[in-house]
């Protein structure tokens, strides 16, 4: 073989090799990455550790969560196979495979939202590690249902950089959801472990993990059962046509208190936020109340999706569940969805 042929062969190999490798390297391990959260004084707070502790944490958590290539969750078989978690090793390794291909570059290896592309995006890619997910339909706890996560994967988040992954099959989406839950559980446990260490307490990772996993159980049972709008859809629309959603507007400005953040005309502005509302969300980012006149709905565009947002609120942000009856919520939905026509 001449020198040229050898060089050519190496170049060819190198150009083919990246295409072959669709999995994480065997030796790659989860590493501690700083957490950004909201402090007690409503400021952005960063939780970081020194390299020695980071090393110790990575070692301690490895037994419970495996590596990116071979993820696992050390829970009882019962809990692992619970239909709300589905965390068996096969699903997780498939999930990790697709996560690496589709999600990694924004959401990062740990699910911390600091992938290579993540830093260029606004809104920031979600940090799964706090265990808080914005768009959900269940009323209990801080975690959503698997269905809610799948909904976000299929619809994407209009108005953000999260595209639709509807091209994936249902099975592949299920794998991804399982892997996201895995990353989320790992993050919750890691953070609590660090906080305990900081406070000089002993923390049992197994217990922390089980407690975190249990917050997912029973979520499907508390999914909001939205009734049809009062009098059925036709009558509902008629009310909009005839009265310009007068009742909805009244609730929006008075009892529902939507007007406080979203403004009288729906063009919310961060500057006009009332003083008793957090300016930052659970991830320490500035809150921008949604401009309702755009007609772009991040959590889904069906009327019932808006109903869910108003009913259960948006966890981690300043949007609370409204203290309105279901019928009243429907009127507000009607008013809110008519706003884009009036701008």
């Amino acid at each position: 073989m001449t020198r040229h042929t050898r060089v050519l062969a190496v170049v060819l190999l190198l150009s083919i090799a990246p295409g072959c490798n669709d999995e994480y390297p065997e030796s790659l391990e989860y590493q501690f990455q700083p957490y950004h959260t909201l402090s007690a004084s409503n400021e952005r707070e960063t939780l970081d550790v020194d390299p020695a502790l980071a090393q110790e944490i990575a070692g301690a958590l490895k037994d419970y969560f495996g590596t990116p290539r071979n993820p696992t969750v050390k829970l009882s078989e019962d809990l692992k196979n619970n239909p709300e978690l589905k965390l068996d090793d096969h699903r997780l390794s498939r999930g990790s495979h697709y996560y690496r291909r589709y999600c990694l570059y924004c959401h990062g290896i740990n699910g911390d939202g600091n992938g290579p592309t993540g830093r260029f995006l606004l809104p920031r890619p979600r940090d799964f590690r706090l265990g808080i997910f914005k768009f959900r339909t269940n009323q209990q706890g801080t975690t959503p249902t698997r269905m809610d996560l799948k909904h976000t994967l299929v619809n994407g988040i209009p108005g953000s950089s999260m595209p639709s992954f509807g091209i994936l099959s249902d099975d592949d989406l299920e794998y991804l959801v399982s892997y996201v839950i895995h990353l989320s559980l790992r993050g919750i446990v890691e953070r609590q472990y660090v906080l305990a260490k900081r406070a000089g307490e002993e923390a049992d990772i197994g217990e922390l993990l089980e407690a975190a996993a249990r917050t997912w159980i029973g979520n499907s049972a508390t999914v909001v059962n939205a009734p049809e709008p009062p009098g059925g859809w036709y009558k509902f629309y008629q009310e909009g046509v005839l009265s310009d959603w007068k009742r909805g507007r009244e609730l929006y400005t008075t009892k529902g208190a939507c007007v406080e953040c979203h403004g009288r005309d729906g063009r919310a502005s961060a500057i006009e936020l009332p003083t008793n509302v957090n300016r930052r969300d659970a991830w320490g980012e500035l809150i921008v109340p949604r401009d309702l006149t755009h007609g772009v709905y991040r959590g889904g565009s069906r009327p019932v999706d808006i109903f869910y947002r108003i009913k259960v609120g948006i966890p981690g942000t300043g949007m609370p569940g409204a203290a309105l009856s279901d019928e009243e919520i429907w009127h507000v939905v009607g008013y809110v969805m008519s706003m884009p026509l009036r701008r």
Partner: protein, 266 residues
């Protein structure tokens, strides 16, 4: 050695022609055409292919003849001359004539595809919004009371009387389809290879696009403008339904949109 060079250069036209013939026989030629205008658009392609093909074979032939006639070192020096009115006149007029022919011949076909005078006189069937990196398609909601879809105002859509699907364009077969096309961010290009439609989407513009699809089925729909790192993911599907089936589909989707169940709409 001379034979080697002659056969090498002869190989170019021979292989070039062979590729076309094999592609034709193996059906790896143009994608199947499902629109009525597609035939005329394909014809334009064939005309240009014929003109360029003949000229290609002619010039390649000249090259081979010149090679065959070459006499190596002992040949007399080639004669140099500057300016030949007849020759220059001929090739200028010939190419100009060809260009003008193509330019004039394509006008009526281009007009059918793009001129406002040929735009179907109907309400838009859908609003297609491209974004990095997906297609959002907004359809009018089916009105149960009047038994037909609501009117779709594409400039300011009524979000309660229309619904959005991602990466799915559903159209009825055999009738003109009118789509309004725009984009949220960068320039994208709406391309339905089998319906022979390609139109760039520009931010801030609402561009009408029309075509028809004669054959029900599922076809490819892609972005044809490099729009960013996720360009490859802007792969979507065109679903062509029979008219009755399409209405049934629209009714079903409208009911799904108004359903109050926690569900996956895809």
């Amino acid at each position: 050695m001379k034979k080697f060079w002659i056969s090498l250069f002869l190989l170019v036209p021979v292989l070039g022609t062979a590729v076309f013939v094999v592609a034709w026989m193996k059906k790896a030629w143009l994608p199947e055409n499902i629109s009525t205008l597609g035939k005329e658009i394909d014809l334009l392609f064939y005309i240009i292919l014929a003109i360029t093909g003949v000229i290609f074979l002619f010039t390649e032939g000249l090259l081979v003849v010149a090679l065959a006639g070459a006499r190596g070192e002992d040949a007399p020096k080639a004669r140099f001359f500057h300016g030949n009115n007849l020759m220059e006149f001929t090739w200028t007029v010939l190419t100009a004539a060809m260009l003008i022919f193509i330019a004039l011949y394509q006008i009526p076909i281009w007009a059918k595809a793009k001129y406002a005078s040929h735009r179907p006189n109907k309400d838009p069937d859908a609003l297609v919004t491209a974004s990095q990196f997906m297609w959002q398609v907004r359809y009018p909601l089916w009105d149960e009371q009047s038994g037909r879809p609501h009117k779709l105002d594409t400039r300011n859509p009524d979000v309660m009387r229309s619904f959005e699907l991602i990466n799915e364009l559903h159209v009825p077969a055999g009738e003109p389809i009118l789509i309004h096309l725009t984009t949220r961010d960068v320039i994208h290009s709406f391309w339905l290879p089998k319906a022979r439609v390609k139109q760039d989407a520009l931010p801030g513009h609402l561009i009408p696009v029309w075509f028809d699809a004669q054959k029900p089925g599922t076809y490819e729909w892609v972005c044809a403008e490099l729009c960013g790192w996720g360009h490859y993911r802007m792969r979507a599907k065109l679903f062509v339904h029979e008219k009755a089936e399409f209405e049934k589909w629209l009714q079903e989707k409208s009911r799904e949109f108004l359903s109050t169940k926690q569900a996956l709409v895809r």
